[in-house]
């Protein structure tokens, strides 16, 4: 029985490693862009993990998961960083992670992929689809994607922060993943 488990575990590992890429966190970014009283804000998540299984020869078998530490969003100001971790925003104490898990990735022409999956922020899960581009660059695969969301759909910004004339409802999550 033990042997069987070990063998099957090994089998899973081998199957996954066939296309699993190693992400370079120093070169990869996950950011959120939005407007605050029409002022563009571009903030990066300092802590995240992105795992992508991708084989250029079989793009339709690709898989992707991204997990960000919600408390790690850097808005360039310590006070702001503290604020977005609070209950009204990410509620990072209760929901420390926001995740995206792909359910289907379809090739959409050369270097283009259509990604469908589940986006979970602050305990709210929704199905989303967004385009992702991939290109080979110096032995790396570079993935770029932009996922527009509405922050209020995930209760990001409660109470007095619901006011979209203050912080716009539209937020774009941008992925830039460099992997090998």
């Amino acid at each position: 029985m033990k042997k069987l488990v070990l063998v099957s575990l090994l089998g899973v590992t081998l199957a996954a490693s066939a296309a699993a890429l190693k992400t370079d966190p120093a070169k990869s970014t996950v950011s959120a862009t939005f407007k605050q009283m029409n002022v563009p804000v571009d903030a990066k998540f300092k802590k995240f993990t992105a795992n992508i299984d991708y084989d250029a020869a079989k793009p339709d078998t690709a898989k992707a998961t991204v997990e960000v530490d919600t408390a790690s969003l850097d808005l360039g100001e310590a006070d702001m960083n503290k604020e977005v971790a609070k209950k009204d925003w990410f509620n990072a104490a209760q929901f420390p992670k926001a995740t995206f898990v792909s359910s289907a990735i379809k090739s959409a022409g050369a270097g283009k992929l259509n990604v469908t999956g589940k986006l979970t922020i602050k305990g709210k899960a929704t199905d989303v689809t967004f385009p992702l581009t991939v290109k080979a660059e110096g032995g790396h695969q570079v993935f770029d994607g932009a996922l527009p969301i509405k922050r209020l759909a995930y209760n990001i910004g409660e109470g007095e922060w619901k006011d979209t004339s203050m912080v716009a409802d539209e937020v774009t999550i941008k992925f830039h993943v460099v992997a090998q």
């Binding site: 029409n38 002022v39 563009p40 604020e83 006011d163 203050m166």
Partner: protein
């Protein structure tokens, strides 16, 4: 008595209101703890006021170049010198305070979107190292301006109520 021109008066009083309002708004907004919608709103308004002051300052200098101000009211030479010094400092500060504030917000990577409509040009890429020094310089210059403006106001009131001369009246429209 020769008064200042109407546009010169309008520019003077408009800027006076904006500068005083922006100064007290600056004190109020920086005293708000943490981040609140009100604080963010005040910061935006403060920046819009600053940009407006800067635009009016440009117009004002051009107007002054093209239109001579009335001759000085007779008085002791030291008072004329002191008045000149205060006026030159005020002209310097109506540019310096908003310009340094502008540089500060761009160092912080937060562009000014004037009246929520027009994004103002970035003089350089965001640079966190410059945030602190520019913020402090903006504050020091604003306080310097508060002192100079106070001297300016007190002198005008002294001339009007104690000396009973035309110094203040020249800047007031005929009622």
């Amino acid at each position: 008595m020769q008064r200042y021109t109407k546009p010169a008066m309008l520019l003077h009083w408009l800027m006076a209101i904006l500068i005083v309002a922006a100064f007290f708004l600056g004190l109020t907004m920086t005293a708000i703890h943490g981040i609140t919608p009100t604080k963010l709103k005040y910061y935006s308004w403060h920046k819009w006021m600053g940009v407006t002051v800067l635009l009016l300052a440009v117009i004002r200098v051009l107007w002054r170049k093209a239109n001579r101000p009335p001759p000085p009211v007779p008085g002791p030479a030291w008072q004329h010198k002191a008045a000149d010094a205060v006026h030159y400092l005020l002209y310097f500060l109506i540019f310096a305070v908003p310009v340094v504030g502008y540089l500060y917000t761009y160092a912080a990577g937060v562009p000014v979107v004037y009246l929520g409509l027009w994004q103002m040009p970035a003089p350089f890429d965001p640079n966190p190292d410059w945030k602190q020094p520019l913020s402090e310089l903006h504050e020091i210059l604003a306080w310097a301006m508060a002192v100079i403006v106070s001297a300016h106001v007190l002198a005008a009131l002294k001339h009007h109520f104690i000396d009973r001369d035309d110094v203040l009246k020249r800047m007031l429209p005929k009622f």
